[in-house]
Amino acid sequence: MTGPGARGAELEALEVDLLLEGVARQWGFDLRSRSRPQLLRRLRHHLREERLDSFSALQARVLHDAEALDALLRTLSCTPPALFAEAAFFRDFRTRVVPVLRTWPSVRVWHVGCGTGEDTYALAILLHEEGLWGKCRLYASDASEGLLADARTGVLPLPTQEDAQRYLEAGGKGALSDYYTRDGNWALLQPRLRDGIFFTQHNLATDGSFNEFHVIVCRDTLLTFNRALHDHIHGRLFESLARFGFLCLGRKESLARTPHAGAYEMLEDCGRIFRRVA
């Protein structure tokens, strides 16, 4: 059965392919390895926001205008909207990973896909509270310079009452408001946190490993990629992780069917925190 819906869908698929091809050739951002259903939904969302009629019109704009590309990449990224968005992860990290980190002389942490930095700053607050800030080097990377620029400012929307509550659920030892100063509806994070984080542009799809790390936090970042790129990136992460280092994934991400699954052990009774054992 081919109705008008099916024909429209074929044309849309063609336009999307041309747009992605154009973006890859003009800007070097290969979005063709994204998870297709999610990409389609984000692109349609972006089209509505930009009040454009077709992906061909979006293509014309994106190919000529770097800011239009930046806006597109922003729509495609889905950073958690608040500090300590998933309290359970930070609680598990505190109780299961931090005690091991204490025994190491120095610790390099890589937050992969930091977006606008909410989870990075939450991690920095946690490491600070646990007395590890002095011997930790926290690297945060994202493919989008626009998002990184936001993250580097250390300015976030003012945390709400719920954010403060989740901070406590995550095992927070003080008050969330100790870590920022308020400026209207914005929170300026303390410079000692902000200045201790190395924000760096890194594209998981094309760039190789750039250091060896003891902890890699990569939560819900790989959801946006298709199976092939997802597996490829897990290879990069494996190469970047020291033996006995920790890999922290999102609550519903798994290493099953990835090339190095056998080299990891999952910590019991907590979320998806894996330890490289081989």
């Binding site: 869908a9 199976r227 069917r257």
Partner: protein, 185 residues
């Protein structure tokens, strides 16, 4: 008629009991995967109660798990569940209609990946899911609404089958029907 490849169901929180009843009607040898999005809070344990009377296993899949026939895949809390041909694709896109998992998200992805080989069942009671069901319908999928739909106002609604809890069993049975000539010895 295209052979069925996927059955998607979407339901608001108020229809959870109806969903449990309908899952109990699924034939044990259903030849396609069933994917279910149900509005839920972060702490609701849904898979065990929904699976109690269901002949098929009800699981909350991880990202990029394969979709296999004869199982019910329930959208986990806090994620949109999208269908990527034979695979699960979870997403942390912002909530829609205040909901994540969302029903429109699931239906839209099923329309894209399976088109006329999908079947969609929406439990009425929420604005979320109506647009997605229309997208499925436009792509030639078999769709139906269970219960009285007060939230949808679009004219296209009339073309969709309106079912009750009593008649949904027949609709499901017709979906799973395979003509005898096609059954291999």
């Amino acid at each position: 008629m295209n052979p069925l490849g996927l059955l998607v169901m979407g339901a608001p929180r108020c229809a959870a009991a109806d969903v449990e009843s309908v899952l109990a009607l699924l034939p044990p040898h259903l030849p396609v995967p069933v994917v279910l999005a149900l509005h839920r809070g972060p702490l609701d344990a849904l898979a065990p109660p929904l699976g109690r009377r269901c002949a098929l296993p009800v699981v909350e899949p991880d990202d990029k798990d394969p979709l296999l026939p004869g199982a019910v895949y329930l959208a986990p809390a806090g994620y949109h569940l999208l269908v990527d041909r034979g695979w699960v694709s979870l997403s942390v896109e912002p909530p829609e209609h205040g909901q994540r998992p969302g029903l429109d998200a699931l239906f839209e992805s099923a329309a894209d990946s399976h088109g006329p080989r999908a079947a969609g069942l929406l439990f009425a009671g929420h604005e979320d899911g109506v647009a997605g069901l229309q997208a499925l319908h436009a792509r030639g999928a078999r769709v139906a609404v269970v219960g009285t739909n007060q939230t949808g106002g679009a004219g296209e609604e009339g073309e969709m089958a309106q079912l009750t809890l009593g008649s949904v069993g027949g609709w499901l049975a017709r979906l799973a029907y395979v003509p005898r000539s096609k059954v291999l010895p």
